[in-house]
Symmetry: C2
Subunit: 235 residues, 2 copies
């Protein structure tokens, strides 16, 4: 058995040793869900940026640029943060530059890992299968919300840990907590999350369809992996 841990926030990542591990970065609402949607609809590569300006600069290099601030698409950008926008292969074959705050921070703090994947419910089974095929310790890294613990990323951690229980055991307290919590609340994630701070913020922006997408398992049979600073579809 290999080992599995969950890091509940970027503010706690310095307490974990990433070397030799596969890190799965999770930002369910909505960065990593949107990445899966994009890769699953033919987007060829994704680069992420913390700042609007860095992201905007990618436009002249032939990238689609995507980003929101305060729930609104940024002026001059091609796309916001909605995963739905990528469906039907509308941007197939194109390269994408995204600006997200929590997700980008978590990705940049993962660079010491052996491999970096992104995790989301829409490709959870493919990610489980890929991780089971590797003989590596795993760290699930929740992007959180402005440094704080968040429910949706952590529950995905519990779901992924449960999916891996035949090959990966957990002794860390965060994994035990989130696996148990997922056992209890996993049948109605949407109902449970509707009480949560971030889901409430999203509801205010009328993105019910996004939430449904982000909480639906296995819409895509793909793994999202960072290779040479680019996120690509792997296998």
């Amino acid at each position: 058995m290999k080992n599995l841990e969950i890091c509940l926030s970027p503010e706690l990542i310095h307490l974990h040793n990433l070397e030799g591990k596969i890190v799965v970065v999770v930002d369910i609402f909505r960065a990593t869900s949107t990445m899966v949607a994009a890769l699953g609809n033919g987007v060829s590569e994704i680069k992420t940026f913390a700042s609007l300006d860095e992201c905007r600069a990618m436009k002249s290099k032939g990238y689609l640029i995507a980003g929101e601030r305060n729930g609104q698409k940024v002026e001059g950008f091609d796309l916001g943060n909605s995963p739905i926008a990528y469906l039907d292969g509308k941007y197939s074959g194109q390269k994408l530059a995204m600006t997200t705050t929590n997700g980008t921070l978590a990705l940049s703090k993962s660079k010491d890992a052996e491999e970096i994947l992104i995790g989301a419910f829409p490709n959870i089974s493919a990610t489980v299968k890929y991780l089971q095929s590797k003989d590596r310790d795993i760290l699930i890294f929740c992007a959180g919300w402005k440094g704080k613990f968040n429910l949706e990323d952590s529950l995905y951690g519990g779901a992924l840990a449960k999916g891996l229980e035949e090959t990966h055991s957990s002794e860390d307290d965060a994994s035990l907590a989130m696996t148990s919590l997922f056992e209890k609340e996993g049948n109605d994630l949407k109902g449970f999350l509707s009480q949560a701070s971030h889901a409430k913020r999203l509801q205010n922006h009328n993105i019910e369809a996004d939430i449904d997408f982000c909480l639906t398992n296995d819409s895509f049979d793909l793994v999202g992996k960072v290779v040479e600073s680019k996120l690509i579809r792997w296998a």
Copy 2:
């Protein structure tokens, strides 16, 4: 309704605003449980110290000194960290200086709060009652383990939040998670925690009786409160 939040680790406390709030510091295994045992058995005041040397220096000022390192009582100290040692009023009327790492750190990071309490299962109902009598927002501050999330402190957070649900509502994700987890696992905390990293460490030290004490509700009808840098029995 007033508001209740849970901070899962001292590494996350800078993300919370403490002003005007009652902070309940929690270090179930074993600092705050031991403090409740001491106050419940007549110890008149408790001061906490991060370092052995600072704690040792209190001996000449008439304090009992208590502390462990690596599960062993420190040489020259009167007591280790076991709550059991205080039972039967053996140290009644005496003043106590304790050195603990996680608990002391959390207490020192709470100083901006309106009031600071310590929380533990052996006085949970008295603490609920006291908090209900106050018209204040509450932050439950888990001492964690070397900065990481830990299960026993967080589950106490869930238990306390549940006890306060008639007067205090929670919108933060940590409270929602821990309240739900406590609903699921609260009936057999000892069994659930036996999988956890810290409980395993404690088991290695043969302190089963300590664990039982720390997980037993309402052995004492007292509130532990910090007044002028000293922890005392309040009401």
